[in-house]
């Protein structure tokens, strides 16, 4: 058999996409949800590659307008020349914050594990507090968290502790490591339980390694220094495993950090092999399906659902594996709502000065969700789900929840 495997052509100029790769086409500006909704934001072209030419490491940073970038990465998804727009903006934000000093709020929002540990230990109280108008007024006034933004509920039993008591399956044909992330650990343990149930149902043992926060909350709070510290710890903890098994993540942005941003944005040595073995959970399940290893013995789930593709999922470059999986389940009617960014972008839409903007960005999605009507809006990213619930009054779920139901999981 004659096989010609054509190697990708390497061409330094385009492969590395330095600022010179920007052709000034302005495509990025036209899709930037922030630029679309506020005229004071100068857009990714100017703040990314164009400003980058004038950024000198020894000189103080000019940060005007930079923190309005929500980090959605739609600019990079759209740029035909693969310019690392976000990398420029994130590093400049970080340098500016380092010079000016970081605010208490950004410190807190960047330290998700700290918040989570506190929140889950004091869960009933913290949850009550988060809904107390007086406390919320106080938080808005002194911390800068908008009082109308519903905050996630904390749970006393963390996923880590739940899993320690969870019995290992007797027989498994392979193992996979689960990067559950702060969200599953402190706020939505049930999602983690479902991921474990689905994988075990398919004969896969779920290894839950020790892990640090992926670092995305720090990145979006102008602290790539802290994110890098977390990233280095994760690479140390997880890279040895990556030699033996795949790693799955159920939070879109955690997965993207492991896959891409550790090596590209944060320059962490040794991150590439880890990234190459990291999969989004739906991407992984679809792979199982293509390998004819996914158990298709589904019970019908009679539901009409809408699917919202998170911006960071688009950034994964894996298409829509959740939609493909959902179409395997009898009874499910799934339609995509493509109205772009939901507006929350992690902790962006939590902040007092950005809440209104975040709701304005999401307004098109909210209107489409309301007009379409559905039993639930599915989104892989937890903050998208929070935003859709808040803005459109719809109930929401991670797509794997439908699979879990189809497997009879309650």
């Amino acid at each position: 058999m004659m096989t010609e495997d054509f190697e990708p052509v390497t061409d330094t100029v385009e492969e590395q996409a330095p600022v010179e790769a920007c052709t000034k086409c302005t495509a990025c500006n036209t899709v930037c949800p922030v630029a679309r909704n506020t005229e004071i934001f100068r857009g990714p072209k100017l703040l990314g590659p164009e400003s980058e030419r004038f950024r000198i490491p020894q000189e103080p940073s000019v940060v005007a307008g930079l923190d309005l970038c929500s980090g959605c990465k739609l600019c990079e998804v759209t740029c035909p020349s693969q310019v690392s727009i976000q990398t420029y903006i994130r590093r400049a934000q970080n340098k500016g914050a380092r010079e000016r000093g970081r605010t208490l709020r950004d410190f807190l929002l960047g330290h998700t594990r700290l918040l989570g540990t506190f929140g889950s230990l004091t869960a009933p109280l913290a949850n009550l507090g988060n809904r107390n108008p007086l406390l919320r007024w106080f938080m808005e006034r002194f911390v800068g968290i908008h009082r109308k933004r519903p905050l996630p509920r904390y749970q006393f039993l963390t996923f880590e502790r739940w899993h320690r008591r969870h019995p290992r399956p007797v027989r498994a044909r392979r193992k996979v490591a689960y990067f559950y992330g702060c969200w599953v650990n402190y706020n939505e343990r049930r999602l983690g339980e479902m991921v474990v149930a689905i994988l075990e149902r398919n004969g896969i043992e779920v290894v839950v390694p020790r892990q640090q926060c992926c670092g995305i909350p720090a990145v979006v709070n102008s602290n790539t220094d802290l994110a890098r510290k977390y990233g280095v710890q994760n690479v140390r903890l997880l890279a040895p495993l990556a030699g033996e098994m795949d790693i799955v993540a159920s939070s879109t942005s955690c997965g993207l950090m492991l896959k891409h941003d550790y090596s590209h944005l944060l320059d962490i040595p040794g991150a590439e092999p880890l990234g190459a073995r990291t999969y989004d959970i739906c991407e992984y399940l679809w792979m199982l399906h293509e390998a004819k290893e996914l158990d298709l013995d589904f019970q019908p789930v009679p539901m009409r659902v809408l699917y919202h593709a998170p911006c960071h999922l688009k950034s994964h470059g894996i298409g829509y594996p959740a939609m493909r999986l959902l179409r395997l389940v009898p009874g499910v009617k799934v339609e995509e709502v493509d109205e772009g960014c939901c507006g929350i972008s992690g902790t962006f839409g939590v902040k007092v000065e950005k809440y209104d903007l975040s709701m304005k960005i999401g307004s098109r999605l909210f209107a489409a969700v309301k007009a379409a009507g559905s039993d639930a809006v599915l989104a892989d990213c937890e903050t998208c789900r929070m935003q859709v619930e808040h803005g459109a009054g719809a109930s929401s779920a991670h797509p794997v929840e439908i699979l879990a139901r189809a497997y009879g999981y309650r």
């Binding site: 990708p8 061409d11 302005t26 688009k314 470059g317």
Partner: protein, 422 residues
């Protein structure tokens, strides 16, 4: 990922191919290289504006002119695609635009002559209804309106050029108004204006300000294409009523609102009808085994991702979207790894005059009669790959105003071939 068919590209050729496949109820994924050529180039769809790059008089009947061209130049992309592909593709596209909610006009039998933003008459075949009243073959006087501080359309310049080049030229005048809420010192683009036009109050106020400056009966009013981004049909109709004169839009330089409307709507419509999109994963290599392409590789986050289809349409356009890769001396095709051109110095790729025929624009994939990528002897490199759009060698629509028609014809033909080969 495994699929029946895969289309690579984001331009009109790619969208046409994806639609043709989707319409036949076949499974197709669209590997999208970013917002590239479509966004720059397609405010209207030009089939053949001039018989050759040097012709002085525009073509009247583009369908007939293409037929003549096919006879005279058997290696022209139109000849490779064939006239039935142009006709079938155009018919499909017009139906598609309607189904997707875009109101367009035109037939292959006739060109209209529309003004550009600099005031040159340009022959086009299919045009948005909002531009149709700009036809320069009509005799009614024109008032061109610009906005203070908006730099991409100077009505005075366009009017002066039109007066010079257009037969009844003394009937063009220019006015400017201040767009409400837009400080003339602020830098703003057509996108900003288009978003504001979606607001009813803004439209009414613009209409008021314009009406105060327009005199004369029976005039039509031309303004840059900024009449709404998403609900453009509604915005246009409402604005025309508010103004009380026939209105036409004139396409602007990028960011072109007209092109964005077209692109966004068609792309979304594909998604609504079940075409899966791969964002942010540029395709950049192909594996060929025994004369068949078994997979293409995508650069996804973290790793290469293979797409295994039974047949592929490579509908990339140019240098920007990854159809060709240029180093200092070599131009290569990243999919099959061939050297397409060699230059002692890169300046050999460009002509002295920017209006001249550009050597770089002629570069591309040599193709077979079925649009498969061909080797030096003209034999297919892979039986199940079909090339469409600007990546085809000798595809240079700039002088002849034929970009849209060539995209439709090659995209449609490539899709038909791919479905037959899958």
């Amino acid at each position: 990922m495994k699929t029946d068919l895969a289309v690579v590209g984001g331009g009109l050729a790619a969208l046409t191919a994806a639609r043709a496949i989707q319409r036949s109820d076949r499974e197709v994924v669209l590997v999208w290289p970013g917002l590239s050529s479509l966004y720059f180039l397609y405010a209207t769809i030009d089939v053949l504006g001039y018989a050759d790059a040097g012709a002085a008089e525009p073509v009247d009947d583009p369908g007939a002119a293409v037929a003549g061209l096919i006879k005279d130049q058997p290696s022209h992309p139109y000849a490779r695609a064939g006239r039935p592909a142009l006709e079938g593709g155009t018919k499909m596209l017009l139906e598609w635009l309607r189904e997707a909610g875009l109101v367009w006009e035109g037939t292959l039998a006739r060109n209209v002559l529309l003004p550009t933003a600099t005031g040159t008459p340009k022959p086009s075949c299919l045009v948005p209804a909002s531009m149709a009243a700009g036809d320069l073959r009509r005799a009614d006087p024109i008032v061109l309106c610009g906005f203070h501080g908006y730099q991409d359309f100077a009505p005075e310049l366009a009017a002066a050029n039109l007066r010079r080049s257009w037969r009844t030229g003394n009937q063009v005048s220019a006015i400017r108004i201040a767009a409400p809420g837009f400080d003339a010192d602020r830098l703003f683009t057509s996108i900003d204006l288009a978003r504001s036009f979606e607001d009813r109050g803004f439209r009414a106020e613009v209409a008021n300000r314009m009406r105060r400056q327009i005199s004369g009966d029976g005039v039509r009013v031309g303004l840059p294409a900024v009449l709404g981004l998403t609900r453009a049909e509604e915005v246009y109709a409402d604005f025309e009523t508010a103004l009380g004169y026939p209105v036409f839009e004139i396409p602007t330089v990028p960011p072109s609102v007209a092109a964005l409307r077209l692109f966004d709507r068609l792309r979304k419509h594909l998604q609504e009808t079940g075409v899966e999109l791969f964002w942010n994963a540029p395709a950049h290599a192909a594996t060929v085994t025994e004369g068949r392409c078994t997979r293409i590789l995508l650069k996804s986050a973290g790793r290469e991702q293979p797409i295994e289809a039974r047949a592929y349409v490579l509908a990339l356009e140019d240098w920007v979207d990854g159809a060709l890769r240029a180093g200092v001396h070599l131009v290569r095709d990243p999919f099959f790894g061939r050297v397409i051109a060699e230059h002692a110095v890169p300046s050999q790729r460009t002509a002295e005059s920017i209006f001249g025929v550009q050597p770089y624009a002629q570069l591309g994939y040599p193709v077979t009669d079925r649009l498969q990528p061909a080797d030096e002897t003209g034999r297919p490199l892979a039986d199940n790959v079909f090339v469409a759009g600007g990546a085809i060698a000798g595809y240079d629509p700039s002088g002849t105003k034929s970009r849209g028609g060539m995209a439709i014809a090659t995209g449609y033909r490539a899709a038909m071939e791919a479905m037959a080969a899958a």
